[in-house]
């Protein structure tokens, strides 16, 4: 038997392994969650993403009732919630965070009630949706996550420059030919898609963390938007790999372990950034260009 066929067989065996499927799924989600999370931070929409994630349970139930798969339901409901927020913010006099708070918690409550009303309601499914169950990712799920991640990255790459421009200044971007509204809608669909596929990996409660924690860590190290997006992908990927192996080693749930690793990486980046800032400040003092206020001690 040729070496090539043996290699092929090994790959099949590896793909059959639930742990490797989990790893691939995590990497696919991390790759698209990184840059998506950067834009969330720049637009100050962390709570907005949270609201979409809170509606995920309702999406799961609706997806099952309508005979679709749960991810499609989550995607649809999360996008509808996002669109509702955008419309309400334009027509209603309520402040934005009030609208988000009301929608986040009412969709979560309605989702829980709807779930209890369905016939095949089982407790363990609920925890899987809330905290993720990446080790249960099947082959079909993996294909869906992989294709979804790839498609998300392609869409993001296509709208990246005008999206960043409109994030900085909508008027400026529009005056120079960007289409802020269309791009923003596409971007929200992307966040909804990340919520839908990321939910399998870390669960509805933590899926936003997968987007914003690596991005926040990258913020301290980057000098341009593209650098930040790239570093966020690296940190999200590293969190995914370390978190998965860590969960195996410590026998802890995979999703929360991944987010915990990301949180520690964030702290590390923060400390590194603080250290380099202090270093450059003290060098500035030595050069006689003291800009920092002096301590009164």
């Amino acid at each position: 038997m040729s070496r090539r066929v043996t290699g092929h067989l090994t790959l099949l065996l590896v793909l059959d392994d639930f742990f490797f499927r989990a790893l691939l799924a995590t990497l696919a989600v991390a790759a698209v969650a990184g840059p998506t999370g950067c834009v969330i931070l720049w637009q100050r929409k962390a709570y907005f993403g949270d609201t979409m994630a809170h509606s995920a349970l309702l999406g799961v139930v609706l997806g099952i009732i309508l005979g679709l798969n749960p991810e499609a339901g989550v995607f649809g409901v999360a996008f509808l919630v996002a669109a509702t927020v955008v419309v309400l913010q334009r027509v209603s006099r309520l402040p934005g965070d009030t609208i988000l708070g009301v929608l986040a918690h009412s969709t979560l409550a309605i989702g829980l009630v709807a779930m209890a009303l369905t016939d095949n309601y089982r407790q363990y499914e609920l925890t899987a949706y809330l905290f993720g169950d990446v080790l249960a990712v099947g082959r079909e799920d993996l294909v869906l996550i992989g294709l979804g991640g790839l498609f998300g990255l392609v869409v993001l790459a296509a709208i990246w420059r005008p999206l960043v421009a409109a994030t900085l200044h909508e008027g400026l971007a529009a005056a120079e030919g960007a289409k802020p509204l269309r791009n923003q809608l596409l971007y929200m669909a992307l966040v909804a898609a990340v919520v839908a596929v990321g939910m399998q990996v870390v669960g509805a409660l933590l899926v936003v963390a997968l987007m914003i924690v690596p991005a926040a860590a990258a913020r301290t190290l980057a000098h341009t938007p593209e650098q930040m997006a790239l570093i966020a992908v690296l940190i999200a990927t590293l969190s995914g790999v370390l978190g998965l192996y860590g969960s195996l080693w410590l026998d802890t749930p995979a999703g929360p372990t991944i987010v915990t690793v990301a949180a520690f990486l964030f702290l590390g980046c923060l400390a590194f950034d603080g250290g380099t800032q202090r270093l450059s400040r003290s060098q500035g003092v030595r050069r006689g260009a003291a800009r920092a206020p002096e301590d009164d001690a």
Binding site: L41, W42, R161, P162, V164, A165, T167, L168, H169, G171, L172, A173, A174, A175, E176, G177, A178, R219, A222, H223, T224, P225, E226, Q227, M228
Partner: protein, 244 residues
Amino acid sequence: MPLHDPGEPLVRASSVGVHRGGRWIIHDVNLEICSGEVVTVVGPNGAGKSTLLKTLLGLYCPDAGNVVRAPGLQIGYVPPTDPVQFDLPLTVRRLMTLTSSCSADTIANALQEAGADHLSGSQVNELSHGEFQRVMLARALSRNPDLLVMDEPLRGIDFSSEAEMYQLISEVVEHRGCAALMTSHDLHYVMSRTDQVVCLNGTIRCMGAPEDTVDHPEFHQLFGTRAEAYRHVRHQCQGESLDT
């Protein structure tokens, strides 16, 4: 070089009105900006200066009348912003390619023209207001505009740097031969460097060459003692020759 012939209309507003929040912010505005012309809009706070600019740019749809822009018109826009609003990792170099890519040479030339070439590696949110306005001007210039639209180009700039900034804008506009539309509070500058002054307060109260506008009763109603003071200084400078 600008595509459009001198004197060719670039933007024309006919009977334009913008209705927001239950009132007309501007109404019955008729205005034409021609190639190579420097137009300054003056008026008190809330007069609708920014709204007028945004409507001419096509950012607001007029609720009455219409705005026509010359086909292929390239606009360089300097919006009223502060550096701290640009709160993401962003170097000046990257800011220059915000909406379209351009060559390193174009970027370097535009920055040099605006006196900001030493800032290309700086983070945008660490710039001072003066540096930021220079960079934003360079960004607009890198697009090789036919029309430069500047909303409050002196925003946040201290008194001592104002003259420098005005000088820069004048030089750039003269050198490039592009048209410019801006809002300003500084009557002295407006009078010395502008082809056409537009006094706006909801609608256009008076408009024309600076020498004509300064004696217009509507101008005095809008600017009161400042207009008087200005007229006094100007006439003294010119040996009372224009006194009427």
